[in-house]
Symmetry: C2
Subunit: 277 residues, 2 copies
């Protein structure tokens, strides 16, 4: 069961016009929101970020926050899995003819649920690998847009290299991962790229920073360099579906001899407590 433009219908019945600007131009935005034990996690923050993305590309929000909540609630009553991930996408809608510039159109709204199975601490304690690549994405990564081909190309590289993530650097500064934010711990301080046009302002990124502060780990929103990444004491990635995950190998080199860091363990535990709050 998915939601499409006012209707709840089977996924294989859900179709859109070839004239939809989402299909023709990647002209849309999206959100991925975790649902734990039936409760939508940090909904207001996700809806605020959605609004920011819509404002940045000039699409009027088709729903009030209450209407969004009603759509999500109705979908959730159909699917009783304990943990789920809400995917919602808004595109500018379908025009009669393909042209780059746009008039006011009726936005397309698509929402679906996907299974969410966060890894256990035991699984995370094994550590994960990443590779690094130059960041060739556009410079409006603060917009959570569906024009995602660059991210697709990096994610496929991750898969081909059998690693969890591709960590990106622009002019030697670490920006973020293809589908995550990136953090390093060095000398008992947590470093991450500041918010701005070159990274997505992750809701989970904020939660990790909040957790670090609660764990008395000082934070500094300064982009680490590639060298600092490779010589870090700890490297983490975060996303709403991965939560906070320890990276113990980058470009085939172990980080801190491949050991899981104590700061990660503390922050992970605090993050879990936020989920269950």
């Amino acid at each position: 069961m998915v939601y499409l433009n006012g209707e709840f219908l089977a996924k294989n019945q859900a179709s859109i016009s070839v004239m939809d600007r989402g299909f023709l131009f990647g002209d849309g935005v999206y959100e991925v929101i975790p649902v734990y034990k039936g409760s939508i996690f940090r909904l207001q923050e996700h809806l605020q970020r959605l609004q920011n993305s819509l404002d940045a590309i000039g699409i009027k929000n088709p729903h009030t926050n209450q209407q969004w909540q009603d759509i999500f609630s109705q979908l959730l009553t159909h699917d009783l899995a304990p943990n789920q991930s809400l995917y919602l996408q808004i595109t500018r809608g379908a025009d009669t003819q393909r042209k780059h510039s746009f008039e006011s159109l009726t936005a397309t709204v698509f929402v679906e649920l996907n299974p969410l199975t966060p890894k256990s601490k035991h699984e995370l304690n094994q550590g994960f690998s990443a590779i690094t690549q130059a960041d060739f994405r556009w410079q409006r990564c603060d917009i959570k847009a569906t024009s995602l081909l660059a991210n697709i190309m990096y994610s496929q590289q991750a898969k081909q290299n059998q690693v969890e993530e591709v960590i990106l650097h622009r002019d030697q500064s670490i920006t973020e991962g293809a589908t995550s934010n990136v953090f390093i711990v060095k000398n008992n301080t947590l470093f991450t790229h500041p918010t701005g046009p070159n990274i997505l302002s992750g809701i989970t990124r904020d939660l990790v920073l909040e957790s670090a502060i609660a764990c008395q780990l000082p934070i500094q929103e300064t982009a680490p360099t590639l060298d600092e990444l490779l010589s870090a004491d700890e490297v983490w990635i975060s996303s709403s579906t991965r939560e906070v995950m320890p990276i113990t190998q980058v470009d085939s080199q172990p980080i801190n001899q491949g050991k899981i860091g104590t700061h990660w363990s503390n922050v992970y535990d605090y993050y879990q407590s936020l989920k269950n709050a």
Copy 2:
């Protein structure tokens, strides 16, 4: 009448799954090919560029060149307008679930015809305006991809500023327009950004260079700076639907006192002779 995945059907009947990766990720490529008096212009060059785009993102070409020609021919028999523009889009296809990385899927193929009404020389002789903007697009502009949100944003700016095009510069070098290639004439030499990852290798760009050579205008594939653009003797933009168009005002400043250049006139005439060859 449009073509979608093996069928010829009415445009308002043509729909795709919400799971199509073109819709979810802008995971596709496209071509726009002019048709003059029923004859497809530079078809082999467009099909070669299509192949290059497909190769760059790892989609297998679903058709041989002969099959493409058959699809185009069948569409053209339904629409007898003298000049048309063939739009063709290939996406990676629909998966059962949204995930960034991909397996082998059945590609989605969409082809349609749009009316093409190239401006007359009389109309072009009035000159056109442009504005300049920093180029924040990705650095794989050589791939003719459907992840076009940056181009959409620029095209909307052009519309709001009532100009023909937004000319982009990266680190002070002119790359191209939001939907065109850019040329300047200075001291009787034609300058344009060299091919590479920061521009689309336009078929019309090649034809303009070929025309310049035929008109004994020396060419130099070196990116003009922003200052050189503003102080140029002539500024042109090219695309398969606009052909070669004179820009006589940039950022509200006249180029060469707003006069149409003689080199443009010569190259325009030669380009027309190629169309009718």
